[in-house]
């Protein structure tokens, strides 16, 4: 600062004041908010559900090409049934195991708690395409994999169980985290109050905490439904690794889009059923996803949980003595065995499969290009989302307007829509529009923005909700313009949530296969590259594993750097 001449400093200050005055004008802030709403509706929400409009407009083609074609229909329906079966099972399994583990994580004090808390987040950094391969290696019978890793269990043959195991690995950390966060907000005094009334720990948790936890349960259910319905890359690699020919609906869309694009690239007319078929499948998936989510919410709110009766003696026995200890160890082991080991199993594979020859023959150009592309897409999408998602969150929480509530409900839609359907819809939207020149990279980025937008907004809303508006009120009345109040008072508190949202958005984007494939199969991002390696005619498992590990490293590095930055500043003050 001292080096800058004071006249510059003054100019800078003047500029700053003028800038603050400018943005504090009501007309400026209204324009800004209007722009954000416009952006959200036309470029995030509308493309996401564009396929619905397409389906209505082009119903005749769908009718003639799809509905009246029994082979195609049965292919679509079978894939859909598969998806539904997997995600419903997963949701139930997640809840059954998630509730007690989340409860232990929040309410119990034990030595490895903080370690466990951070370990749980690790699988989030693994791109699902690689994760699918890893899980399949651990559990599945893998006829095509040349080197069988040690310790691999190697016994699951069928597609359904392995898909369930795989999705469990991907959804469980999310479910646990969201359950724990919500559980943390339920006043522990209530449980203590119940215990002073003579309720055992188990009875207290069951009759007091659980009924208050309905919203948490609903959130967790939506989370695991949405995530398991969405996944494409993972499902593709899982199925390919065990050599199964089954398809989930996302895999179906991915494959068809591939075929379609290949045909166009080769200068041929693509098969007539492909486009309407994909549209039809996407519409069905969106409808099913929305229905399931709606159902889950109703179920969580209305379900009569068993708290009409108490069985003191049994519940005492579960709550006292060695039982709680056993339970903790059991859930800890469960987590390690079903989530952690399968997630990172491919690291073992790399060590076993490494050889100079393989490293020399690999296609390093494509490898580095794909990784670079992934990083660019994820970074741009995340930055755009932060810039636009944060004001959107402010709009929803702080502006007390009936419109805010509508926005609040709409923000989640891109999140619930399965990513393959979303990708297809966004792709369709951008190829149909005529304003922007077609650019595959741009389309992919837009698809990723739509897909990850809710993460930033949701997280920021969560952070804002925790900050009492009284701080901003005080700042305003002390003479701070709205933007100053935000910068000096709100941001320091909310930035943790924004960064958490950015991390989620980045990792989600860097690991996404389905949306990318459905928008533009030409854009070989890293996960697409991994899928191609595994599902190709001559699968290169080793290289796929290596790419995965590199992606993990990039994500973890980012998480680490952001976290470190945040905590370093936070420690001084928090």
């Amino acid at each position: 600062m001292a080096l800058i001449p004071s006249s510059h400093q003054q100019q800078l200050k003047q500029f700053q004041t003028r800038f603050i005055e400018y943005v504090s004008k009501p007309s400026v802030s209204y324009t800004w908010y209007f722009f954000i709403i416009l952006f959200f509706f036309t470029l995030v929400l509308f493309p996401t559900i564009f396929v619905l409009i397409y389906a209505v407009l082009e119903f005749v083609i769908i009718q003639s090409e799809v509905l009246s074609n029994p082979t195609i229909m049965s292919e679509i329906l079978e894939a859909l049934m598969y998806s539904i079966a997997v995600s419903v099972t997963i949701t139930i399994v997640d809840l059954i195991f998630g509730l007690p583990i989340a409860w232990i994580l929040v309410r119990k004090e034990f030595r490895f708690k903080s370690i466990l808390n951070s370990i749980i987040e690790l699988p989030l950094a693994v791109p699902t395409a690689g994760l699918g391969f890893s899980v399949a290696l651990f559990w599945g019978v893998t006829p095509n994999v040349p080197v069988k890793p040690f310790f691999a269990l190697n016994f699951v043959r069928d597609a359904l169980p392995i898909l369930i195991l795989f999705h469990f690995t991907t959804t469980f950390p999310y479910v646990i985290r969201s359950l724990a966060a919500i559980l943390d907000e339920i006043d522990i005094t209530l449980e203590i109050a119940a215990r002073t009334c003579g309720a055992s720990k188990f009875t207290a948790a069951r009759t007091v905490t659980l009924p208050l936890f309905r919203s948490g349960v609903a959130t967790a259910m939506v989370l695991s439904l949405a995530k398991s319905l969405s996944d494409t890359g993972g499902a593709m690699t899982v199925l390919a690794t065990i050599g199964s020919l089954k398809q989930t609906s996302t895999v179906l869309i991915g494959n068809w889009k591939g075929d379609y694009q290949h045909a166009i690239a080769a200068g041929k007319e693509p098969l007539g059923y492909l486009l309407p078929g994909m549209a039809f499948a996407s519409v069905l998936m969106i409808c099913i996803a929305l229905c399931l989510v709606f159902l889950a919410k109703i179920l969580a709110k209305q379900a009569k949980l068993p708290f009409r009766r108490v069985f003191p003696s049994i519940e005492w026995r579960i709550s006292e003595g060695t039982a709680p200890q056993a339970r903790s160890i059991l859930s800890f082991g469960f987590l390690v065995f079903f989530v952690l080991i399968p997630s990172f199993f491919l690291v073992l594979y790399i060590f076993q499969g490494i050889s100079i020859e393989k490293l020399l023959t690999a296609d390093w150009f494509l490898f580095s290009q794909s990784i670079l592309l992934s990083v660019i897409v994820a970074t741009v999408a995340t930055l755009v989302n932060v810039c636009l998602g944060v004001p959107m969150a402010i709009l929803i929480t702080r502006k007390n307007h009936p419109f805010s509530r509508i926005l609040d409900a709409l923000v989640d839609i891109p999140y619930v829509v399965p990513s393959a359907a979303l990708g297809f819809s966004v792709g369709l939207f951008w190829t149909t529009q005529i304003i922007f020149p077609p650019n595959e990279l741009f389309f992919v980025i837009m698809a990723h923005i739509s897909m990850t937008f809710p993460f930033i907004v949701r997280n920021t809303i969560g952070g804002l909700a925790e900050l009492d508006p009284a701080y901003e009120d005080a700042a305003r009345s002390l003479g701070a313009r709205p933007i100053q109040a935000f910068h000096h008072v709100t941001l320091p508190v909310v930035k943790f949530s924004i960064i958490a949202g950015a991390i989620m958005s980045f990792t989600r984007s860097i690991g996404e296969t389905g949306a990318t494939l459905a928008v533009s199969p030409e854009s070989i991002t890293a996960p697409v590259f991994i899928v191609a390696l595994i599902t190709g005619a001559e699968p290169d498992y080793f290289f796929a594993a290596l790419t995965t590990v590199i992606l993990i490293l990039i994500s973890s590095l980012l998480i680490f750097v952001l976290r470190a930055k945040v905590t370093k500043k936070g420690k001084r003050k928090a």
Binding site: K13, T17, D468, A470, Y471, D473, A474, A475, R476, S477, L478, G479, A480, R481, Q484, H488, V489, P492, V493, K573, A574
Partner: protein
């Protein structure tokens, strides 16, 4: 003519169908210390926020020095608002110094050297200069309170809006700090609005008390006036320890009006012409509520033979049911056979407490000029007494 510092005209604020503030009209002089008193949900905080500009009124006008404030944003009103949070809304990521100079820094109209001098001066004033680099969570409740005041003073606002500034503190500390705050802002000649639900606090610091209930002004006056001459039953009940006795009008006599309270007759006296109820049409059996402050009932142990009092009226015999020691005062709950009220609460200096045990028979005397009365249905009194 000197304009009022703050003037409020026909102010209304509605949330949905509910009126949080209804038909407020008031004027406050420069330098006045006004306490806004009322139960939870009365609209106290909404009123402060309306004045601060943080909430837009549904209708009505607010003036400061005769200037209409309605379209001026909060940061331009030159008021300092202290919200009601346990940490006084000190900015958690700023230390004491940064909190203190927040306002001049934001306004950006002073050179930095001047801000530094101002900050130092104010921190000296609240005795916190040595803790300039502490963060709010490292301070005790009382210190946080002082930082919040310092921050408001540095804003150089001429109006202070304090929303329950003492709520988060211990009772004893509250007693000490309330006078300290009052002294500090009065020395600086700030006009202050102080919100509380504690009537003792209100009486202790206010120039004038604005009693509000359910979004309406109940009474706006100096504490003595509200205490001794409450204009409504609510004000009478809310101040001090008040016995509400349900009665019906019976007849007129030379020395006052006689009402029937259960089996007993009580004589009440109009205190002055305006408050006389001669103006009211008299019907017997009309419901009336008597309000008597606990310290305005005279009590003596019955065993002592005492010369017949000059008052022949309003003398009752009763039994002490419970005795509570409160420090300076003690409270007796006295049961009077046949009275419409089960127990009368009577305040006595605690030095007299040794004369009264549970079960002691006592003689109560309520001088008729100590009785306030209201032509309100009994229902109203019953609702007030329900917690």
């Amino acid at each position: 003519m000197v304009k009022a510092h703050i003037e409020i005209q026909d102010l209304n604020k509605r949330f949905g169908k509910l009126y949080a503030i209804q038909d407020f009209n008031l004027e406050v002089e420069r330098g006045e210390y006004v306490v806004i008193l009322g139960p939870t949900g009365a609209g106290k905080t909404t009123l402060l926020k309306l004045i601060a500009g943080l909430v837009k009124p549904t209708s009505g006008k607010i003036y400061k020095n005769g200037e209409l404030l309605n379209n001026i944003p909060p940061e331009r009103r030159n008021m300092a608002y202290l919200p009601q949070t346990s940490d006084y809304s000190l900015f958690p990521y700023m230390d004491v110094w940064e909190n203190t100079v927040f306002s001049p820094k934001m306004k950006g109209d002073k050179p930095w050297e001047e801000i530094i001098a101002l900050g130092d001066e104010i921190l000296d004033l609240v005795n916190l200069r040595t803790r300039y680099n502490a963060y709010p969570h490292e301070l005790s409740g009382g210190m946080m309170q002082r930082v919040a005041l310092a921050r408001a003073m540095a804003a150089d606002a001429d109006i202070f809006l304090l929303d329950e500034p003492l709520r988060a503190l211990d009772a004893r500390l509250r007693i000490r700090l309330r006078t300290e705050i009052r002294k500090l802002v009065s020395d600086l000649e700030k006009t202050t609005f102080h919100v509380t639900h504690d009537q003792e606090e209100a009486i202790a610091v206010a120039d004038r008390v604005l009693v509000i209930n359910e979004g309406k002004i109940v009474q706006f006056d100096i504490p003595e006036e509200i205490y001794d001459y409450p204009s409504t039953l609510f004000a009478a009940y809310f101040f001090g320890t008040t016995n509400l006795v349900l009665a019906t009008r019976a007849r007129n006599e030379n020395n006052g009006e006689v009402v029937q309270a259960g089996e007993h007759e009580i004589t009440i006296k109009p205190k002055d012409i305006i408050r006389s109820f001669d103006k009211q049409e008299s019907h017997s059996d009309e419901e009336i509520v008597l309000a008597v402050k606990a310290e305005k009932i005279l009590v003596t142990p019955l065993i002592r033979t005492k010369p017949e009092s000059q008052f022949k009226v309003n003398i009752f015999e009763g039994t002490v049911e419970q005795a509570f020691f409160l420090g300076k005062w003690a409270n007796l709950a006295v049961q009077v056979e046949g009275l419409s009220k089960k127990e009368l609460h009577v305040s006595i200096p605690s030095s007299d407490l040794h004369q009264y045990n549970v079960g002691t028979k006592v003689r109560l005397e309520i001088p008729s000029e100590n009785i306030n009365y209201f032509f309100e249905p009994w229902e109203v009194a019953k609702r007030l007494e329900m917690t």
